[in-house]
Each structure stands twice: as C-alpha cells, then as structure tokens.
C-alpha cells in the first residue's frame, strides 16, 4: 500500500491517549506523523524541566499544560491532525465520556494504579475497544526485553513488564521511546485492519 493510501485510511480514525507524559507525548507524535485523523488526549499536568529527559516537549514550553504544549508541537508536525484535549485527572466514570468514539485507546499513564483503573474502566464501559497498555520501560539497555503481547482482541501490552520507574532506575528517553512507538505501531496495525 502506498504512503498516500495509508494516510488517507488513517485519517478516518480517532485514537484516545490517556496521559501525555513520556509514553503519551511520543506516541501521539508518531500517530500524527503517520496521519491518524483525530487524537483525544487527556492529561492534567504541566511541562516540567525534568520531563524533557524523555517527553516530547521543549524548554520554551516549561510551565505549559502538557495537552496544550502537545497541541502546539503536533500542529507543527501535521496540522491536519485534529487534537481534542481534556485537561483533567481521569476518574473511572469519565472514561466513556472522554474516549467515547475512539477506535483504539492508548494507556500512557505513569502510575500502576491509574493503568489498572483504565483497564477495568475500558473493559466495563467500552467493551471491545482495543486498549494498548504500556508496562515496564525504566532504565537502559535490554532492548530485547521489551515485548509486545496480545492478550485478546481488546487488550495489548507493550513493555518489559518488570522494571518499575523509581528514583534509582528512572525512565530514560530510549526505552520510553521504544515502548511509546511500539504502542503506536500496534495502533496502526489495528487501524489498518479496520474499515
């Protein structure tokens, strides 16, 4: 399939991204570059200097809402991508309201508890919508330890499923980027099969 046909196809779809940190910002950029039509992005945080070690933001954006900084960056990459942003902390009950109509949802939260909340909420309130979870991305090296697993048609995992983000094993750009782009790759694989 030619690039122009791929982009025309992808432009019809809407992808939800829960969190605009290391996973969410990098995944959103990959999807926008590929030509995904609409991204629904939810995050409550602002860009901090420390985030620049792995997140798709710039020094001039420190202090901005991550959702707005990402809107700015994506508009400079692919102005045709429509961004719908929500500046709030997602609770379980908000999931169908925020991500309703999305063809695929990317889990890009930081905390394991929020990841768990989203998995239960999507399963219970948006059954059948594929959710791509990121789990395990800290440190450096061990590229082959980062895996992709399909649990079933509605749940996919990207990551090493073993490293936790802690002070003495922080998340760094290369492995965060691998997982974020792996999630984006799963999204494309699913969208290219949809009509």
């Amino acid at each position: 399939m030619k690039l122009s046909d791929i982009r025309t196809h992808l432009s019809k779809f809407r992808v939800g991204i829960a969190g605009a940190g290391g996973l969410g910002s990098n995944c959103a950029v990959a999807l926008a570059r590929s030509g995904v039509g609409t991204l629904v992005i939810c995050d409550f945080d602002i860009v901090e200097e420390e985030n620049l070690t792995r997140q798709y933001f710039f020094t001039s954006q420190i202090g901005m809402m991550k959702t707005e900084a990402l809107r700015e960056n994506i508009s400079r990459i692919n102005p045709e991508t429509i961004l719908i942003t929500h500046q709030r902390k997602i609770g379980s009950a908000d999931v169908p309201e925020i991500f309703g109509g999305c063809h695929v949802i990317v889990e890009a939260f930081d905390s394991a508890e929020m990841k768990e909340m989203l998995i239960y909420s999507v399963f219970n309130t948006m059954p059948g919508v594929p959710l791509i979870v990121g789990s395990g991305l800290s440190g450096w090296g061990n590229s082959s330890g980062i895996k992709y697993r399909r649990i079933d048609d509605s749940l996919y995992i990207c990551g090493d499923e073993s490293t936790e983000a802690v002070e003495n094993n922080p998340p760094l750009a290369p492995r965060v980027g691998i997982v974020a782009n792996m999630q984006a790759n799963v999204v494309l694989e699913l969208l290219m099969k949809m009509s």
Binding site: G19, S111, A112, A165
Partner: protein, 67 residues
Amino acid sequence: MKILLNDRAEEFAADSISVTEMLILKKFSYKMRIIKINGALISKELYDSTAINEGDIVHMLYLMSGG
C-alpha cells in the same frame, strides 16, 4: 487439570483452584496485576471466589509504574 497460562500449558494437581491459589502455587507475588480468564477481567475482590477449571485460558500481566 491442564490450563493455558499466558499461552503456555500448565498442569495443577487439583481439578479446580481459585485464582488466589493459582497465584500462591505459581509464586506470583507482585500485587499490581491484571488477570483475565477466558476473556473476562477478574476483579481483585473475586480472586478468592473465582475458580480456574480444566481447559481455562488464563492471562496475567504485571502493571509497572512509569509512563
């Protein structure tokens, strides 16, 4: 009984075990996890009362912080 756990065949002596028992027998101690049995997501509160039976397809995944 035989089950599929994360796409691998596993055998247990008992005919049926609870999710909690499976976690103990397999020494899965990390608490942040998701378990699906035959496609159904099992709530944590139901680990004691949910049975795993012959032929069941069980998936478990660990949720690590970081994103």
